[in-house]
């Protein structure tokens, strides 16, 4: 059985706001399936004494003191923006998120 269905790939593409064609769905579903199955093999060797790992370095509590440091000027901040107005980033309208 496939590790990921075509429908799941379509759903993920929608969540990631990726425009994926019907053909690409077939291609990606097949490719992702191979990747997921390869990753799933890790589970076969994981024993109870091996905790799941999210971070590869054994560090905790890396913290910063609460001291202000200069960031970007407004001009610098907006310099990469496709559009700006009144010192703000200008973005296309947001659909169907709120009433």
């Amino acid at each position: 059985m496939a590790a990921i269905s075509r429908e799941e790939v379509a759903h993920l593409a929608h969540l990631a706001r990726l425009a994926v064609t019907e053909e690409e769905l077939d291609t990606f579903a097949g490719q992702l399936d191979v990747i997921l199955q390869a990753v799933a093999r890790v589970g076969e060797v994981a024993a109870a004494d091996i905790p799941p790992t999210s971070h590869s370095v054994p560090l905790t509590n890396v913290l910063r003191e609460d001291v202000v440091r200069p960031g970007l000027t407004r001009e610098e901040a907006l310099s990469g923006a496709p559009d700006a107005e009144d010192g703000r980033f200008r973005v296309p309208r947001i659909l169907e998120e709120e009433s």
Binding site: H11, L15, R17, S54, H55, V57, L59, T60, N61, V62, L63, R64, E65, D66, V67, V68, R69, G71, L72, T73, R74, A77, L78, G80, E85, D86, G87, R88, F89, R90, V91, P92, R93, I94, E97, E98, S99
Partner: protein, 497 residues
């Protein structure tokens, strides 16, 4: 569609039992943001407090703010929570331009604090509200919608975004569902948010101002028939004052009861509270089920608060507001009822500060709970915006020094509230000082005696009560600016009785 007949609140509560839950967001008052060193000043020019980290620029890496972590642990401790010995941040993925990273760094299944409680007083009884979790995340940017009506997203053609607020540490406090409060549900919700605000303010980790958005509240409500399973809940957002918390719960109970009574079912949805109408309106539909694809944030290492660190933070916690209030009540010698009135008026801190500025507890309470509370009620303003504890203490000092009578002091207070200056300035400007010049008083007394010879004879003959007419005449002549007791003594002395 079925017609829905409205129910009164009493009818709704008679037929259904409410279960409430509250999610509160608190913006921390740290100097810098959660994951970068940008300042957090309120009201700065748009996009002047930003850097590559909070703008989500490629290659930037976040580092957690120690002060924010400690503040969150302190909030957890003050809410009787267990502090997790292992806690991670997670990415909450979504597409909305209020976060330039396209995800919000939050906490998911490993919050910093869990399983606490907060006792709140409602109508003299303690209600325990259980806390499910306290977690740390970052605030979003502010969007301004163009083209729609007054900044609303509906009909907007474009949006402008300011990322100054993006990345400011935000603590989310989630209660467990609170059943069994019956008709008091709206009061319990309000009392909880009030108490939570006081606890957090006492910790000094946030200014917790609802009107500025540093304290925000979402209200969950469901109804069920007595003895039956809990119903479907709705979540109401945009509740921006303590009064609105109470109103939102109440109106949602009435709305849901009417829907259920008509045979319809409640839709699980997010609703918005309207300050103007006092009711809730449907908001974002939950049909497109939110799928945030949470996963552990790989750029931030886990938090593992050790016992010594937590113990150190716990040892430094201030007295809880409830204990503090109890201590004040004793010190001020107030009955439960009187203390409750002071609390309801939001006058505790004002009275405390007035006493600290030199007034007696009785005098401080008298001004804030009398003249000033009445005025706040009449004008619908906050008590604290009328005048300051220092001014009230200064006013009382003038009374204690005999320069003002109580009556004159009330007039002076009017001037102070109207912004005419300090009590001493108003007293001088309006010429309200007590006439203590004995010469002027004696002249007025002589006049009064001359004008009322029959009354004067009665007083001479021992009918002391008759002196009232003379006192009245003198007070009139001095435009009420004499001390009635002094006048009485002078008259009696003059008439030899």
């Amino acid at each position: 569609m079925t017609t829905i007949a409205p129910l009164s609140y009493e009818q709704a509560i008679e037929r259904y039992e409410p279960v409430i839950g509250l999610e509160t967001h608190v913006e921390l008052g740290t100097r810098t943001k959660m994951f970068c060193a940008c300042p957090t000043d309120f009201g700065a020019e748009p996009n002047t407090q930003v850097c590559p980290v909070c703008l989500g620029l490629p290659g930037s890496l976040p580092v957690a703010n120690r002060a924010a972590i400690e503040a969150t642990i302190r909030i957890g401790l003050a809410l009787n929570c267990t502090i997790a010995s292992w806690s991670r941040f997670a990415r909450k993925n979504y597409f909305y331009p209020d976060m330039p990273k396209d995800f919000q760094t939050s906490q998911y299944d490993e919050p910093l604090c869990v399983d606490g409680w907060l006792d709140v007083e409602v109508e003299g009884e303690l209600v325990r509200v259980e806390i499910e979790r306290v977690h740390l995340e970052e605030d979003t940017g502010k969007t301004l919608h163009l083209g729609g009506a007054t900044g609303r997203i509906h009909g907007a053609t474009e949006s402008l975004v300011d990322y100054n607020r993006a990345g400011i540490p935000l603590v989310e406090i989630v209660t467990r569902p609170v059943p069994g409060t019956g008709s008091r549900a709206p009061l319990v919700a309000r009392a909880y948010v009030t108490e939570l605000r006081d606890v957090i303010r006492t910790l000094g980790v946030s200014d917790v101002r609802m009107e500025q958005g540093s304290l925000r509240c979402d209200v969950n409500v469901s109804l069920n028939r007595p003895g039956q399973e809990w119903g479907t809940r709705t979540e109401t957002k945009n509740v921006n004052s303590l009064r609105s918390v109470e109103r939102a719960v109440r109106s949602e109970i009435m709305r849901q009861a009417a829907v259920l009574d008509s045979g319809d079912r409640i839709v699980q949805e997010t609703r918005h509270f309207s300050e103007d109408t006092g009711d809730t309106r449907p908001g974002r539909s939950k049909e497109t089920a939110t799928d945030y694809r949470y996963f552990p944030e790989p750029d931030l290492v886990p938090l593992a608060p050790d016992a010594a660190w937590v113990a150190e933070l716990k040892a430094a916690l201030p007295e809880s507001p409830r204990l503090h209030r109890r201590r004040l009540q004793e010190a001020w010698g107030l009955s439960d009822h009187d203390m409750q009135s002071v609390l309801n008026a939001g006058a505790v801190e004002l009275i405390e500060a007035t006493i600290a500025a030199g007034a007696s507890p009785d005098a401080a309470r008298k001004w804030w709970m009398g003249e000033l509370a009445r005025r706040a009620n009449e004008t619908g303003t906050e008590l604290s915006s009328l005048t300051s504890p220092e001014q009230v203490a200064a006013l009382q000092r003038l009374v204690d020094e005999g320069k003002l009578t109580d009556k004159l002091a009330r007039t002076v207070l009017e001037g102070v509230v109207a912004g005419e200056g300090t009590p001493a300035e108003v007293m001088a400007a309006r010429g309200l000082e007590v006439v203590s010049d004995t010469g002027a008083l004696t002249a007025a007394i002589d006049e009064a005696i001359a004008a009322n010879p029959a009354v004067a004879d009665k007083v001479r003959g021992g009918q002391v009560a008759a002196a009232g007419v003379l006192i009245g005449a003198v007070m009139k002549a001095t435009k009420g600016q004499a001390d009635a007791k002094t006048v009485r003594e002078l008259i009696l002395g003059r008439l030899g009785s």
